[in-house]
């Protein structure tokens, strides 16, 4: 169980996505009903996964008026046993677009921070009804919200907020939306079915509007290990991201208040003693090595201000102008802004500029990115044409662009760290496939981690043949980050790879009963649309898919030839059973005997026939 407090970041307004709702999968009542189901179910599974809870998800769709013809309003409710959302975050998480906790670098179903809100938005637009959210993080108190969305302002409007005592943790969302279950029903059922295949550790229940109940119990008793959040890889970075990281890399100039002064005095070991300016400086020099950064910054400022603690109390630092070597401050006593020159030769000057201009390039690289050591950082600086000790804060816009371009191009970075990925694992995948398809043959593979433009990914695959699988294969089940992909099949990279396969080469002919399951895990699945339905072809991903499929196909071919042999043996046994009795009958009359020879034993014995003998 991880105890990371998820950071909620808000990125951009709802207006934009309202105008682009087609992209997000809310184009018509059929598609929208299906997409809404997905968004809520995936949020529930994500939440449970992250906390290591075996998901137990209940989903129900009820018609508001069952007599009306489709499309018509439906009430969609999804309830889970996950961690819930803290009361104060609920309105933001469900009432704001691009508000999510999953932007950090690790694998999750959610990526954009807009799924739930889009569904709610769609419901509100089509039925003008609020969303009901019930959330309990402790299993004791449950917060119940009734929310509407203010589209222009990208802000939630709380209609009602109450609390209630409960016994179970978890979250439940309920919306009213225009849908067409007559058309969307089969897709939704497929979705639930396929989701339970790739989430064999979850229990999923679906009550459909016609009163049918679909229940999939969990079939494995181990959760796949949760992914860890990691630093980004240099290859997957752009200028905007570098800017955001730089902000974090700069140290703020400490506010010099009473508490700060007290801390400096203490660190210099002054006690109640009042030292003059030079005395303070001497003391500081002696203790420099033991001092913390904020204390050093205060000392450096004092060295240019030439002030003791008393005087320091009466001013406020306004600005440090590094290029003009000037320090500006506000004097409370004179109520005016003043400045002093800074001596660039002074060691204190270095301390100050270092703090303001942030980390050096090499420190920035080794500390903020994954898989870059000091040696690689220096090599990279040379490659990009920067001094290794160049301060990040001193970079111009042009230099930042050059830096980001060089980061993409430099080839000596180690490949991305896959520990942020959460593949299902070969064993659960195999169990799931066996349970779902009841095949005669099943083989799975997890390819080693690989990366495309800075994003690590892992391909998992399974192949199954015979048994209860229907003919007409290969039937392809595509997954990405444990989401089944059901729409837009034609343009998907997985299907491209499968269709390129020449199955006759693997002894598979006719109308074969076989299934291929693919699962791509990545911190960033290259979806073609926000609707998350098909994966674009990246050569690296395509290659891994191909290798995986080749491996499995070879296994299948080996099985098929064994199966062929077994069928041959059976045929042969049938031949013996047919002909040996005849031979016995004829030989009995020919030899003038009355009783037939005892050949039964021969038929029972396993017959290993060397057909080459003759």
């Amino acid at each position: 169980m991880s105890s990371i407090k998820e950071k909620f970041n808000q990125i951009s307004p709802s207006e934009f996505f309202y105008r682009n709702r087609d992209l997000a999968g809310f184009s018509n009542p059929t598609r929208s009903l299906y997409t809404a189901v997905r968004e809520f179910v995936e949020n529930s599974l994500d939440a449970c996964d992250q906390k290591g809870i075996f998901p137990d998800v209940h989903m129900s769709i009820k018609a508001v008026d069952s007599e009306k013809p489709d499309p018509k309003p439906y009430i969609l409710t999804v309830k889970d046993n996950g961690p819930g959302i803290e009361s104060k975050h609920v309105p933001l998480a469900f009432g704001t677009v691009l508000y999510g906790s999953k932007f950090g670098l690790k694998q999750a179903r959610g990526m954009f921070g807009l799924g739930a809100t889009m569904a709610i938005l769609y419901g509100q637009i089509t039925t003008n009804k609020p969303v009901f959210v019930k959330s309990s993080t402790d299993g004791k108190i449950q917060d119940e919200f009734e929310l509407l969305l203010d589209i222009q302002k990208n802000k939630p409007v709380i209609l009602k907020h109450t609390t209630k005592e409960v016994t179970k943790r978890g979250l439940s969302v309920s919306i009213c939306l225009e849908g067409d279950y007559a058309k969307a029903g089969s897709k939704i059922k497929d979705y639930v079915y396929e989701t339970s295949l790739i989430t064999p550790y979850a229990t999923i229940t679906f009550d459909d509007p016609k009163g049918e109940k679909f229940h999939y119990s969990k079939i494995v008793n181990e959760m796949p290990p949760a992914p860890t959040i990691i630093r980004p890889h240099a290859h997957g970075i752009d200028v905007e991201t570098i800017r955001r990281m730089m902000v974090e890399s700069q140290f703020e100039i400490p506010t010099i208040d009473d508490a700060m002064v007290e801390k400096v005095r203490k660190d210099l070991g002054l006690g109640k003693k009042n030292l003059a300016f030079t005395g303070i400086m001497d003391k500081a020099k002696k203790r420099w090595k033991t001092l913390s950064r904020p204390v050093r910054v205060v000392i450096a400022l004092m060295s240019f201000l030439k002030m003791d603690f008393d005087k320091l109390n009466k001013i406020r630092i306004e600005d440090i102008d590094v290029s003009n070597k000037k320090l500006f401050y506000w004097d409370f006593g004179d109520s005016q802004s003043k400045s002093v020159e800074m001596d660039s030769e002074s060691p204190y000057y270095k301390q100050l500029t270092g703090t303001i201009q942030g980390e050096t390039l090499t420190t920035f690289l080794t500390k903020r990115f994954q898989r870059i050591g000091p040696t690689t950082a220096v090599k990279f600086a040379e490659f990009a044409g920067f001094k290794p000790e160049k301060r990040m804060g001193s970079m111009t816009n042009q230099e930042l662009v050059k830096l980001s371009e060089s980061l993409q191009k430099f080839e000596d970075f180690l490949s991305p760290d896959p520990s942020c990925l959460a593949p299902l694992g070969e064993e659960p995948l195999e169990k799931g496939i066996k349970k779902f398809f009841k095949p005669d043959f099943c083989e799975v593979i997890q390819r080693p981690a690989s990366a495309y433009s800075g994003f690590p990914f892992i391909v998992e695959m399974g192949i199954a043949y015979g048994g209860e699988i229907r003919p007409g294969g290969p039937h392809v089940y595509r997954y990405a980050n444990r989401i089944p992909l059901l729409y837009d099949e034609g343009s998907d990279v997985v299907l491209k790879v499968v269709n390129d396969s020449d199955w006759t080469r693997y002894k598979i002919k006719g109308d074969p009963p076989f299934v291929i399951v693919t699962h791509i895990c990545s911190t960033r699945i290259p979806y073609k649309t926000v609707g998350k339905e098909n994966v674009a072809d990246r050569p690296e991903i395509e290659r891994e898919l191909r290798l995986g499929l080749q491996f499995l196909s070879r296994k299948l071919a080996a099985y098929m030839s064994k199966r062929g042999q077994a069928e041959m043996a059976k045929k042969r046994a049938n031949l013996y059973a047919k002909y040996i009795p005849l031979i016995a009958q004829f030989s009995t009359e020919l030899s003038g005997k009355t009783k037939e020879p005892n050949y039964k034993k021969m038929l029972e014995e396993e017959l290993i026939v060397d057909d080459k003998q003759s």
């Binding site: 002909y579 030899s591 003998q613």
Partner: protein
């Protein structure tokens, strides 16, 4: 004396029958024992592939060499044909025991009563040849006969041995169309004859002519129509006439390479029947129509076809065509590239062949 001789012959026929039945029983018992001991039974069948057919100079016929193929019931791809062979042996045993005869076509249909499927008659014919090879006995010995019939005419008394006719006798000059050579005739006892020679002739038309012209009386002969390539029953009968009645055999064919070979097969067998002996009359003589006769008798001719020429070349590499008239006539055919039929003599009158040509050839035969 005659009755003694007849008894002798009867004994011989019975012996022959017994040896077939014994052989079949022996093979059957072997298979029975194998099964009883939990072993897959198998047969060793003399190989009939070209590489195993050799010409035996001493007995002047093609025979099979020593290589044999194993047909095992253990081998699933041979199991079916093994069973077919077993069935045939079983069926042949019944035929022989019950003295019933059957034809190749009959065999094909009879199999269906026993759940033995033959895909077509050629498959069952092949199995019959397999059994012949195993027993080294022609199928006629186990009462399977071909459909094609050739015919016989002349003063010859026979006594039937087939069930229902046993003891009944017949003179083969009583019916001018001749008598079909079938199972009852080949298995009949040959009692006595006034004839001094057997004339085998290739064509039905000429056979009728010879009967009309009373060649049997004029030349003290038995006339046999081989109907093209002589069937085995006819060859068996020819052999018996030669061996049992002491009659010389002469052969008269069309003047072409096929005619020459018809005579050769009667004399020394065919490669197809290399697994069988006792079908040949090594002393038989081909008296015409020779290639040299075409010139000599100024016969109307027709040109040889491509296949005729090819056949000539094929036969040139046959060891039996390396000397004597066989080689000489073949060379001439190849040289003149023309051929003449027996009917060609009609140019000089319908009786020309019996009145002029035949006497000359009969005379010549004595010196051949």
């Amino acid at each position: 004396m005659t009755t003694n001789k007849a008894k002798d012959r009867k004994l011989k026929t019975n012996e022959k029958q017994k040896s077939i039945i014994d052989a079949l029983k022996m093979h059957g018992a072997k298979v029975y024992d194998d099964l009883e001991n939990g072993q897959f039974p198998k047969f060793s069948i003399p190989s009939r592939s070209v590489s195993n057919i050799v010409y035996d100079k001493k007995i002047r016929q093609y025979i099979l060499g020593n290589s044999a193929a194993l047909r095992s019931s253990r081998n699933s791809s041979q199991l079916r044909s093994f069973t077919q062979l077993m069935w045939l042996a079983f069926f042949a045993n019944r035929l022989t025991q019950e003295k019933k005869s059957s034809t190749l076509r009959d065999v094909y249909y009879s199999s269906q009563a026993f759940d033995i499927e033959f895909e077509d008659q050629s498959e069952s014919d092949n199995i019959i040849v397999d059994l012949e090879a195993i027993l080294s006995k022609p199928r006629e010995d186990f009462h399977i006969f071909p459909e094609e019939r050739s015919s016989i005419f002349g003063d010859l008394n026979i006594e039937y041995t087939i069930p229902g006719y046993e003891g009944k006798t017949m003179n083969l000059s009583n019916h001018p169309d001749g008598y079909a050579i079938g199972p009852s005739l080949t298995t009949a006892e040959l009692l006595d004859t006034s004839a001094e020679i057997v004339i085998a002739i290739e064509k039905g038309g000429l056979f009728t002519r010879f009967v009309e012209e009373q060649v049997d009386k004029k030349f003290k002969s038995i006339i046999i129509n081989t109907g093209g390539q002589a069937p085995r029953s006819t060859r068996t009968l020819l052999k018996r006439l030669h061996d049992e009645m002491g009659l010389p055999v002469i052969v008269l064919t069309d003047g072409d390479v096929y005619g020459e070979h018809i005579a050769m097969v009667i004399k020394s067998g065919s490669a197809n029947a290399a697994h069988l002996r006792d079908l040949t009359v090594p002393d038989a003589k081909w008296v015409g129509v020779w290639a040299t006769d075409i010139e000599k008798f100024k016969l109307p001719t027709i040109p040889m076809t491509e296949s005729d020429i090819k056949r000539c070349h094929d036969l040139q590499s046959d060891p039996r065509y390396q000397e004597g008239i066989w080689k000489k006539e073949l060379d001439v055919f190849l040289k003149i590239k023309r051929k003449a039929e027996l009917e060609a003599f009609s140019k000089y009158g319908l009786t020309n062949i019996t009145e002029k040509y035949l006497p000359q050839k009969l005379e010549l035969a004595k010196s051949l």
